[in-house]
């Protein structure tokens, strides 16, 4: 893809978004590392990690907006791709522990020693190399999405039925990963990470770098999504969303388009998961919980689907609210608040925050244009109007 394609038609909200993310991605790590601890200008490390999490959620939200907002595919199982990317990264981090684990086994991670594994399962091979794990972060979610999508879209499973089977998919993976003999640490998942590429995952510098990388990944994901939706392919996606069978009768192979965008979206979710795991320090089967995927869909609905910027914004806003409310006395009621938020947004702001704002701006522009026109007409009263 050429730079021209990536920067094509950046509108104002997209430009603001990119500038803000880039600025935060540079300033927050600098402030964390360079300012003296305790100074008002220093962002504490725990906040850096928290913002890093938000950036990962924003990438996940973008991946959902790409398929839901533009192609009408409501996936209620996107958390599965996020978790798979996270597990791929987690496996690399586990292998990096080496003999520093509790049991000191140079090859086998602690949980395998504990569960009496005779040797490393074949599917753990290669994860001691970062490049291999990085490739798997894209390949594993991508491949699952490709196979799942190939079966679902070719059979023309759409709408609520598709949403239900995506839920079933993530639930099936949740159950599988809970099993000890599945080989991914069962209930406890993967944790106790030490190094990433030789750097201590707990160190301030590593956390700052991971945050900056998450912002960079968010920017790249945004640019790729934007390139896709502003291309002619994006117009086809919207056509599929609005009138699928009409699109078929024009000679478009709808299932290929859905498969492409679904797989791309799953790879993006995988990257989000891979960046998330070293920042939170753990990945376990609860990441596959159907509720997580539904929550991610709510972020997109709140921010405004089909706007990209809105999806990312929604992820940050809702998660900030979650952090705020779940750390106070209102913690037990968070899920009720989330449900209420979803209902309120659906009823009062069906276009989400950004969608509503865009509509308001457009209507204002239209009114201004109309006012300018009538003003021009009034000015022209009594004078002969020059022919156009």
């Amino acid at each position: 893809m050429t730079p021209h394609v990536l920067t094509r038609s950046l509108d104002r909200s997209a430009t603001i978004f990119l500038v803000v993310v880039a600025a935060l991605g540079v300033l927050i790590p600098l402030s964390n590392l360079l300012m003296p601890a305790g100074s008002a200008l220093q962002v504490p490390t725990y906040l850096v990690a928290l913002f890093g999490k938000y950036a990962c959620y924003a990438i996940l939200a973008l991946s959902i907006d790409l398929i839901w907002g533009y192609c009408g595919i409501l996936s209620l199982g996107h958390g599965a791709f996020f978790a798979l990317g996270g597990y791929a990264m987690g496996m690399y981090l586990m292998r990096q522990i080496g003999s520093r684990g509790v049991y000191g086994n140079p090859i086998l991670p602690d949980f395998m020693v504990f569960l009496n594994y005779p040797s490393l399962p074949w599917y753990w091979y290669g994860f001691d190399m970062f490049w291999f794990a990085a490739v798997m972060v894209l390949v594993v979610p991508g491949l699952l999405a490709f196979c799942f999508g190939w079966l679902a879209f070719r059979s023309r499973v759409t709408g609520v039925y598709l949403s239900i089977i995506t839920q079933a998919m993530t639930y099936a993976l949740l159950l599988a990963f809970f099993r000890n003999d599945f080989g991914f640490g069962g209930n406890n998942g993967l944790t106790d990470f030490k190094d990433i590429l030789g750097f201590n995952v707990q160190a301030d510098g590593t956390r700052a770098a991971l945050f900056a990388l998450s912002c960079l990944a968010l920017i790249l994901t945004f640019l790729i999504c934007r390139a896709v939706v502003t291309s002619k392919l994006g117009k086809v996606l919207i056509a599929i969303r609005d009138a699928e069978s009409r699109t078929r009768f024009l000679g478009y192979r709808v299932e290929s388009y859905k498969l492409f965008v679904f797989t791309l979206s799953a790879c993006m979710a995988g990257v989000a998961g891979a960046l998330y795991v070293p920042q939170v320090g753990i990945i376990n089967p609860s990441e596959f919980a159907p509720g997580n995927s539904i929550e991610a869909v709510i972020w997109v609905a709140v921010g405004g689907r089909g706007t990209l910027v809105g999806a990312a914004l929604g992820a940050v806003v809702v998660n900030y609210a979650k952090t705020f409310f779940t750390s106070g006395p209102l913690a037990p009621y968070w899920l009720f608040m989330l449900g209420a938020l979803f209902i309120l947004v659906t009823l009062l702001l069906p276009k989400g925050i950004v969608g509503t704002f865009n509509a308001w701006r457009e209507s204002r522009k239209a009114t201004e244009a109309a006012n300018a026109e009538s003003a021009a007409l009034e000015d022209g009263v009594g004078e002969p109007k020059p022919a156009e």
Partner: protein
């Protein structure tokens, strides 16, 4: 696609002994019909006569239980899906105007153009001068040049019908299936639509389903009347409208 040994018919569209039933209801019953290249045919008939189902069969939306459906004398349409049939050159306008409402009129036509429809082709698409000129021509034909940047959803019912006909033109098919093009149009618009279809028919084969008898008369082409999924009468408008059975089931006395 299955290719038979040479052409078996000169017809562009050849239906023979087609049957379709839905849950025991015979929607199409031993339907046989041929359309010669360059012909325009009007299809009339009461509601439930199987007009739309016939179009569904031709465009691959519905698979017939039995019977032959040949395009261009060689291609068995019953084995192909909607996308493949559209690529072969059969375009369709729906009974209820179906345009992409949240996109501009220009984009609607751009999507309809019969250019590379692959994922790769559309992802790396860059407009060309020929494409822009084709869109301009279609916009002029359907008289929507001034509205090109408006959203299709903001058009009036009649304009949507025209936009959909424009999309058919952009698709540049060999055969146009046009389902109720003048439903909801004013008399003037109806007249203009008849003129437009006659103009299109100079180059393409057209099948029009319509209830409006004034419009059908204005087209001045061979008429087929369907009833209960089979051909009841065929001939000029005068012959068909004086047919006893047609009067009984459709036109009324």
């Amino acid at each position: 696609m299955s290719v038979m040994e040479g052409r078996t018919t000169s017809a562009l569209l050849y239906l023979d002994g087609v049957h379709v039933s839905f849950d025991g209801f015979h929607a199409i019953n031993n339907l046989s019909l041929t359309l010669e290249p360059g012909e325009m045919r009007a299809i009339i008939g009461p509601n439930g006569a199987g007009k739309t189902t016939m179009m569904d069969i031709i465009t691959g939306k519905t698979k017939p239980d039995e019977g032959t459906v040949l395009f261009d004398g060689m291609t068995d349409l019953t084995r192909l899906d909607e996308t493949r049939i559209a690529e072969l050159g059969i375009g369709r306008k729906f009974q209820k105007p179906t345009v992409f409402e949240s996109q501009t009129i220009e984009d609607n036509l751009l999507l309809a153009l019969n250019v590379d429809h692959s994922v790769k082709g559309t992802l790396f698409w860059r407009g060309s001068k020929t494409e822009a000129e084709r869109i301009d021509r279609v916009l002029e034909t359907i008289r929507l040049t001034n509205a090109r940047n408006r959203l299709a959803g903001s058009l009036s019912h009649g304009q949507k019908q025209w936009l959909e006909i424009g999309m058919l033109l952009a698709q540049d098919p060999k055969l146009l299936l046009v389902d109720e093009p003048v439903a909801g149009m004013t008399d003037v618009e109806t007249h203009q639509t008849a003129e437009l279809l006659k103009e299109i028919n100079k180059e393409k084969t057209v099948m029009v389903v319509e209830h409006d008898m004034t419009f059908v008369r204005e087209l001045g082409v061979k008429v087929t009347c369907l009833h209960e999924g089979t051909v009841l009468a065929e001939g000029t408008i005068d012959q068909v409208s004086s047919n006893e059975r047609v009067i009984e089931v459709y036109l009324g006395r």
